[in-house]
């Protein structure tokens, strides 16, 4: 709420003026490049006929050998009592391990095709000054995640895959969209009109799943130079999970400057917009940063 009242300034403008356009947009551009290249590699098969990676985000095959499988999808088939073939199991371990190492929800911000859609909705909200937002529960996504894993057991069908917008978007682009775009438009409108950051930040079960993975991931985002923060609020305006900023940026006690790894998508947009260069990516072995005293402040004392 606070952020939207103060954010009449354009986030990142100050950084552009003081540190240059590239510094103010670096991770945004890199992220878009990453999203486009992943999709582009998949598109090589149907468009040009060069087979680098086949399939889609649900399951794929790299260079005709390496299997990759959405780990949440693999769990769903197991929940439906299907004895998964080794190929898919290996693929799920590979993808799960990859995101475990690289920061869990890094999938959300660097790969997921819905991210540009909800980012666009977020930009439109800022542009048209849409302030009203239905407050969804923070725990909603975990309820949904539980539902996604329980329903296959109850019905024997991978129910989530009927409406999973992430799989649907990729499948649509690679194998034919049909009426699938309606669901993607619905998510855009939901984020734009009904609930701010409603889908990715509150509902998406895959985001919740990768969040849990990211909880123990070494790649983290840290407000390492938080003593330099000048309360410009730019990071609040761009962060897809702004509730994680205050505990790291303005802690009540000497708490760790690491942004809650469960929710942080490691998008790096906060690094971009911060003119004071407060934020940085860090590689911390799991468990080493929890509730450790703030070294910089204790040094200052």
């Amino acid at each position: 709420m606070k952020a939207s009242q103060k954010a009449e300034r354009t986030p990142g403008q100050e950084t552009t003026e003081t540190l240059g356009w590239w510094t103010a947009h670096k991770f945004l551009i890199l992220r878009r490049l990453s999203q486009i290249s992943v999709l582009g590699l998949f598109l090589l098969t149907p468009v040009v006929g060069i087979r680098v990676i086949d399939g889609n985000l649900s399951s794929s095959r790299l260079l005709n050998t390496v299997p990759m499988t959405d780990p949440l999808l693999a769990l769903q088939t197991l929940a439906a009592f299907h004895p998964l073939e080794l190929t898919a199991v290996l693929g799920a371990l590979l993808v799960g391990g990859f995101y475990l190492l690289l920061g869990g929800r890094v999938f959300c911000s660097w790969v997921c095709p819905i991210n540009p859609v909800t980012d666009l909705a977020g930009s439109f909200r800022r542009l048209f000054k849409i302030r009203s937002s239905y407050r969804l529960s923070r725990s909603a996504r975990y309820w949904l995640l539980a539902l996604v894993l329980v329903l296959p057991t109850v019905t024997g069908v991978l129910v989530w895959e009927f409406i999973n917008p992430i799989a649907l978007a990729y499948r649509g682009i690679l194998f034919g969209m049909g009426t699938g775009w309606i669901l993607i438009l619905a998510i855009f409108l939901f984020d734009l009109i009904v609930s701010q950051r409603g889908w990715c930040g509150h509902l998406c079960p895959l985001g919740a799943f990768y969040g849990i993975t990211g909880k123990i991931s070494p790649v983290q985002m840290s407000a390492a130079r938080r003593d330099k923060c000048n309360d410009c609020m730019d990071c609040y305006a761009v962060c897809p999970e702004p509730h994680i900023l205050p505990p790291a940026l303005k802690p009540s006690k000497n708490k760790s400057p690491v942004l809650k790894p469960l929710d942080c998508t490691r998008c790096g947009r906060c690094i971009d917009v911060c003119a004071q260069q407060v934020f940085e990516y860090q590689i911390n072995m799991p468990g080493t940063v929890k509730d450790q005293p703030d070294t910089q402040r204790s040094l200052a004392k």
């Binding site: 399939g55 794929s60 299997p67 949904l144 329903l151 296959p152 129910v159 649907l168 194998f175 969209m177």
Partner: protein
């Protein structure tokens, strides 16, 4: 909203409880809705054929990852992934025999491509595939049954003289000529759909149907006497039963 939060723990606890209750109710409702979709999806549309080696529909819906690798590896572009509005579960592979039937590749690349086992890797001989069963659904308009020399479905069958044979029947119209009736042997037919594609009629008279729609099944408790007799090596009933004859009064056999 922030105000109430500051007032104390009681409000936070109340908020926590209402939030949880709301979330539980919403999840429950959504779950019911999705279960409804799931149940509807179990109906196997007659025009949508699954690739060779596909598990029975119920198991297939639990196993298929909807990745499209079978589609990519199908050299004939037979398979496609279902769009949300298509007759089978969204994202699952299928083909429509009337437009592009299965060419029955000997190396079965679609089954090899499947990472999850939804297409059963135990299928090694394509002739053992049971994608469906061809059924002569319209005996009135079938040219062969009208006594004309068509038999196209028989000629194109990859298992000619096994899966489809020609049964000689009397031409009902002329009463003197022979009609060559295409006869499907459901134990051998793979359901590739070549016959359906080839049927020369405007609307095909022969169709491949999913197994569960086309094949009848004897009640599990039911035994065929002659089969049991063969198994046992003798009749299971010792003698012919002699039941009392009921005749109108005053009559005799």
């Amino acid at each position: 909203m922030n105000k109430t939060n500051d007032k104390g723990k009681a409000i936070t606890r109340r908020r926590f409880l209402t939030d949880t209750a709301q979330a539980a109710c919403a999840t429950g409702l959504l779950g019911l809705g999705l279960t409804f979709i799931a149940e509807k999806s179990k109906v196997h549309a007659a025009e949508a054929m699954r690739p060779p080696g596909a598990l029975p529909e119920q198991g297939f819906l639990a196993a298929c990852l909807r990745c499209g690798l079978c589609v990519r590896d199908c050299p004939w572009d037979t398979l496609k992934l279902a769009k949300p509005e298509d007759p089978v579960a969204s994202g699952t592979p299928y083909f429509e025999a009337r437009s592009v039937p299965c060419e029955m590749c000997e190396d079965i690349p679609c089954v090899k491509a499947c990472p999850s086992g939804a297409l059963n890797p135990a299928l090694e001989d394509i002739n053992n595939a049971r994608m469906g069963v061809a059924v002569l659904t319209d005996r009135e308009n079938c040219l062969s049954l009208q006594g004309l020399r068509c038999e196209v479905c028989y000629r194109v069958c990859p298992l000619i003289d096994e899966a489809i044979t020609l049964k000689r029947t009397r031409n009902k119209r002329t009463q003197v000529h022979t009609a060559f009736e295409p006869y499907v042997n459901p134990d051998i037919c793979t359901g590739c759909g070549k016959c359906e594609e080839a049927c020369v009629l405007e609307e095909t008279a022969i169709r491949v149907l999913p197994q569960e729609l086309a094949v009848g099944q004897l009640g599990k408790h039911y035994r065929l006497g002659w089969e049991e007799e063969e198994k046992a090596g003798k009749a299971l009933v010792p003698d012919l039963l002699n039941l009392p004859d009921r005749l109108p009064e005053g009559t005799k056999l």
